[in-house]
Amino acid sequence: MAQPVAEPDRLVYTPEEILDSGSYEEPLIAGGVRCHGGFDAEGQYRSPRTIHRAPAILAWKAQLAREGHDLIEIDRALMPPQYPSVEQGALLLRNGVRDPIARSLTIISIVEGFGAIIREVAVPDLGEVVVEPTEGTALAHLRGGLFEAHARDESGYREEGGHKQMWEAARDLALESPKIPGDVLMRMMGRSGQRKKAKRPYPQLDEKLERMLQMMAQVLVVEVFAEGTFAWGVELLSNPEVSAEPEAAGNMVRYVQADENPHVEYLRTALSEVRARTLRTVDGGTIPGRTVVDGLLHRILHNMIHSRPEEQRSDLRENLAEAMKVASNPKALLEEFDSLDRVWTPPDRTGFEPVTAA
């Protein structure tokens, strides 16, 4: 059976290698759906497409360290807490209020699936937009399998389900295939559906490069913050008091969590590589990669830590009282639910603040 291939000095891989899953002793089947990944002879779960991808990421990180550059580190204190919390979620489920949790889990599954959009990100000719060479880096492998592997992990591919189907399976196992609230898609699309064109933060850059870096920074932050969602999912769905299949449902989220690790790692490595380089501007000048990457991360983190908690809260509370009507004493339940609220204050600094001249 194929195992991850450790080749610490190897820095160049073909797309086929990056996408290679090797073989498994036993496939992962969730809720009757064949999913990606599988188990080795010892029954250990191994994520898909990691035979070469995992050692490749380690090698690119080591190369970056050898060159004396640091790796991007997002402070986990910036991660807003999940709403409802595990305690609040369990309280709802214990009282038969399933709609809000079924809705949340369905939305998580859809958002995971949307991850496939990363394969659509256009990668510019790096030789034209980056001053220093990029051969043998994660950056050089984005179009060479990394984005495609990420997309396949999230939405599934061909006959295999991905994270979308795995979250659905976790939901259906824990909540015994609940009825999906009819407003899920309306919630996702936002009621008005208005989309505004954002102003370009770095118009001096090649537009394709700017879009790619923006997307990567945004995805990195979402992936890091998703760690909180995974911890929430594992704890809530593994709770035998509220989950019909605590072991299977909890494990399913753990497998997704394990699969996400390469995403965080390749994105922070590639962005760190950009940070260690110089970017060309369209007018023939240059700009330090660090200025651009840190600027983007600061903007995204600042927006997300201030907007996400309120969005999650208003989304859940929109019809919480209505959903609670199935409980024997909705009023008391709402009071107990609110008493479990934790106050969270976003940190003052993101750690990527623009450096101002003294």
């Binding site: 759906v33 064949r34 998580i108 958002v111 995971e112 699936g113 949307f114 991850g115 496939a116 959009i117 990363i118 394969r119 659509e120 495609e148 990420h150 997309a151 999230e154 939405s155 599934g156 591919y157 061909r158 006959e159 295999e160 389900g161 991905g162 994270h163 979308k164 189907q165 999906i180 009819g182 899920v184 898609l185 309306m186 996702m188 699309m189 936002g190 009621r191 008005s192 559906g193 208005q194 989309r195 997307m215 945004q218 995805v219 979402v222 992936e223 998703a226 969602t229 995403h263």
Partner: protein
Amino acid sequence: MDLLTRVYRSFEIFWLSARLWLLYKPEELARRWLRLPEASEARINGKHARAADWILACAFRLRGVIIKMCQAVATRSDMFPPEFVDKLKACHDAIPPKPWDLVKTTVERELGKPIDAVFTEFEHTPIASASLAQVHAAKLVDGREVAVKVQYPDIEQIVRTDLANMRRACIVYEWFDKEPLELLPLLTELTTHLGYELDFEREADSAERVRELFSDNEHVVVPAVHREWSTKRLLVMEKVEGMKITDVDAIKACGIDPEDVLQDLMDSYVRMILAAGFFQADPHPGNLMVTPERKLILLDFGLSKELPEGYGLGLFELMFSLMTLNEAAMIRAFQELGFETKTGDTDTFLILSRRMLARSDTGTFEGEFTEEMTDELFDAIRENPVVRVPSDFVLVGRVFSFLSGIAHTLGGRANVLAAMGAGPPG
């Protein structure tokens, strides 16, 4: 409608049916008895083209339901040969209007008072005319400008007569043909849709529902209905003006990027169909306009459709699995949406899925891809008659087919996943 007219319409329908039968069947039977090889594809296609010409000519003579039937056939590339689909598309174009005297009589009958008591101005030449009604510009006594949709007199009776004639013709056709095209289900579907379209009170309700859905979206306009002057056969709406959505030059001249218009259009329909499960099901270019301020105007809610609960999510799953090349998810989505095979197995779905996915090595999320996939699906279904397509899906497919046509004209590409609310991955 007098007896003579009824007899004339019945005769026309049966004469058309007889000519069609004579065009195809005698040669087919002769070849079978004489053990001759089957006619060549080119010969059969030539017959299809002649048949489509005859049907079209009859439709323009009789109008009424036969026009609607032709419009329905023109949207069913899953059932009918391309010769029919292409030729009968002509029925989507403007129909000659009815004379003013007839319109005035109808308006006054519906209002229950003289036309001057409600309108200070009423344009005699209609803005648009279609198979069941025509629309005139007018001004209310309080000065507000309105568009008045007037149902043709006797159209309900004409519809009833035509439907009965066509049902008889279909039954006779199915007696004589061992492997008939399934026309009766199409006719039943058409009967339902015609019922919707002839009820202007229902249309007013539908318009108000969609208007409410987009009430806080500054990019979408649904004209308000003046309920006090509207009846089952007369619809008085706020008059809105804009450019035809396919008038690319005019749109560009206003400084609007046609791609933005296309994305607004895609956003609106994805929201109506997938999220709200209720949609205006007739998005041909005559029913869509754009204002110089880049507002999308939705018109004509006669054919609006409510989808069964959960159907939007099922459609979402199908579209999503198509766009992410996930054949296992696609098979589940086919089943959840009510597609059926005669044997109840899933092999046919697998064939369909693989065929559709074979069109692309990598997923892409843009409008053209969706159009190709929709066409591919309907082609695959037509060639594989064991599959039954749910009528709700057909209507949605028809909508996306119209939208794809508009996308081509606008020369842009809409991001369907963005319209679905896709952000960065998790």
